[in-house]
């Protein structure tokens, strides 16, 4: 089945597919993972079948799974996610595990992101009379504040990658080193940002370009980033998804609902 090319260059996978593969690699075997929505749902399924067979997925609606759902999920509360779950329970038990420090990794998305990894999914402009009202936190603010580390997945556009977010819905490193401790957050913070163009890591609480996807470059990422881009010394091209990874992703999302 023909797939659209990535940013005009010849690739046999989509931006979403390389994002899923990159997100799956952030999951270590045996970790407890807050899986979030959309692409991370597929990343969890991929990681389970590749390198992290012992990872456990937590879903804030009140589900724990040690196997990926048998078919594509449009929401975490879809019936296939409940059938065969390890535990179907109350949301507060998932949040309690998070606050208790049991969750190694959480995934969240964002409409607006800054170089300290703070995310805004609430208001663009003044909250009193917003230019754009976004849906809000959901569980994202809890995941960002309370997980051991979190990974951001989002579309890479200059208007979204800003110097400072208008509103901190989900806290990254605030205004830099020491901020989380100062406001009372006891651990955690962003460890990576996976976008449609690249992957950032964090050094001294600031986003640093770790790799650019095939077809991109340091210059093309810089042109689409709204802050003064910091680049890792060993910056390199993001590893393309392997044929095996693509097979798993496409078996899981055959219509490309989330990945095309």
């Amino acid at each position: 089945m023909p797939r659209p090319s990535i940013m005009g260059t010849e690739m046999d996978y989509t931006p979403q597919e390389i994002m899923v593969a990159a997100a799956a690699r952030e999951i270590r075997d045996g970790e407890i993972v807050f899986t979030g929505m959309r692409l991370p749902l597929i990343a969890f399924a991929l990681a389970k079948q590749m390198h992290a067979p012992n990872a456990v997925g937590l879903f804030e609606c009140g589900l724990v799974r040690d196997t990926p759902a048998p078919e594509l999920l449009y929401t975490m509360g879809d019936p296939p996610n409940i059938a065969g779950a390890l535990w179907a329970t109350r949301m507060i038990n998932m949040m309690g595990l998070l606050q208790r420090g049991a969750v190694d990794l959480g995934f969240i998305g964002g409409a607006e992101l800054d170089r300290f990894g703070n995310l805004n999914t609430s208001y663009l402009g003044n909250p009193e009379s917003p230019k754009t009202k976004l849906p809000g936190s959901g569980g994202a603010a809890d995941i960002a504040g309370l997980s051991r580390r979190f990974v951001v997945i989002m579309a890479h556009e200059k208007r979204r990658m800003v110097e400072r977010v208008d509103y901190i819905t989900s806290p990254g490193f605030g205004d830099g080193q020491g901020w989380r401790e100062r406001v009372g957050l006891r651990h955690g913070g962003p460890s990576a940002i996976i976008t449609t163009r690249c992957v950032f890591g964090f050094e001294s609480s600031e986003a640093v370009l770790r790799s650019y996807h095939p077809g991109q470059s340091v210059a093309s990422v810089r042109a689409e980033t709204g802050w003064d881009l910091r680049v890792a010394e060993d910056v390199h091209e993001t590893e393309s998804p392997t044929a095996e990874e693509l097979t798993i992703v496409r078996r899981y999302d055959p219509q490309g609902f989330w990945t095309r």
Binding site: C61, P135, G138
Partner: protein, 304 residues
């Protein structure tokens, strides 16, 4: 005494103007859309909606002008994106201004847990450092009297009514719900009253054969409405699957005020009841949401 009544009667009696109402407590499943549509048809006004994410039900009630205030973690369309009515209300005051009290999924859970416990507040470490503390003036930052560390005090909420969709109930409101529950239990215990909307009304003996599966004590239930399919387009485990396409159609149709009015007319205002709603949806489409297979749990033994 039987509490069975029609949706029309339940909403008329127990959801007056100005009520605070919890809906969508299970998150993406078991959303009481049939109840929400009856609220819209009755033109109930000045509601305070309380819930974690609500999916498109809150967006519909906001677009219909029923809502004065929203206390929630998220309002939008889970699988299709933003909620156009919510945006129009917040950005342009259409159909009118809306007061938004921001929460996260954890803090809305804690508010209702506190409400159910009869406690004034519950402390948490979540949301420290966020601007949510700026736009929700009800939160208080404090220091733990034990360790001295920074904490957030989340005040309790005690809504007037929780509307909960369940798989089955007896006529007194002893209800079985299964699957993930979200904040259904917290909502039931925190609210003054509960309206149960059930796929099936079953004999009392079936409910008491498995008391662990009961959602809340029936003495808090004021009405039981039998409404098969009442959660459509959201799913009900063991009864029907999610109608994903319906959410996308709603997203496309409600992009404009005129489009929203047309959608609202077609699916809510010009529809008498749930039976007529399903006639409109069509038999084929409804059949497409049927279970592909049954997956029964093993029976448990309550013997002694």
């Amino acid at each position: 005494m039987s509490k069975i009544m029609t949706m029309c009667d339940a909403v008329a009696r127990f959801v007056p103007h100005g009520s605070s109402v919890v809906m969508g407590a299970a998150l993406e499943s078991l959303i009481p859309f049939a109840a929400g549509h009856e609220i819209i048809r009755r033109q109930v006004r000045d509601l305070t909606l309380i819930g974690p994410i609500s999916d498109i039900l809150f967006d519909q009630l906001i677009g219909a002008g029923c809502v004065r205030k929203v206390i929630a973690a998220w309002v939008g369309n889970v699988s299709a994106g933003l909620g156009h009515n919510y945006r129009r209300a917040c950005e342009q005051g259409i159909p009118h201004r809306l007061e938004v009290i921001d929460h996260s999924n954890f803090t809305i859970s804690l508010s209702l847990l506190a409400g159910g416990l009869g406690a004034p507040y519950i402390p948490t470490y979540s949301l420290l450092g966020t601007d949510i503390l700026r736009t929700n003036p009800a939160f208080r930052q404090s220091l733990s009297p034990f360790g001295g560390e920074k904490i957030l005090l989340v005040p309790s909420l005690q809504p007037d009514v929780a509307i909960l969709h369940v798989q089955r109930s007896d006529e007194n409101g002893n209800a079985h719900a299964w699957g993930n529950l979200g904040i259904s239990e917290e909502a039931a215990l925190a609210s003054q009253r509960i309206i149960i909307v059930a796929e099936e009304v079953v004999p009392h003996q079936i409910i008491v054969s498995d008391p662990n599966r009961v959602l809340a004590p029936s003495f808090k239930v004021c009405a039981v409405v039998r409404e098969p399919g009442g959660a459509h387009p959201s799913p009900v485990q063991g009864y029907y699957n999610r109608d994903h396409e319906y959410y996308h159609e709603y997203h496309r149709a409600t992009r404009t005020v005129e489009g929203n009015a047309e959608w609202m007319g077609k699916w809510v205002a010009d529809v008498k009841d749930r039976a007529e709603y399903f006639q409109k949806l069509g038999r084929e489409r409804r059949q497409g949401l049927q279970l592909k297979e049954h997956r029964y749990a093993a029976p448990v033994d309550y013997g002694y």
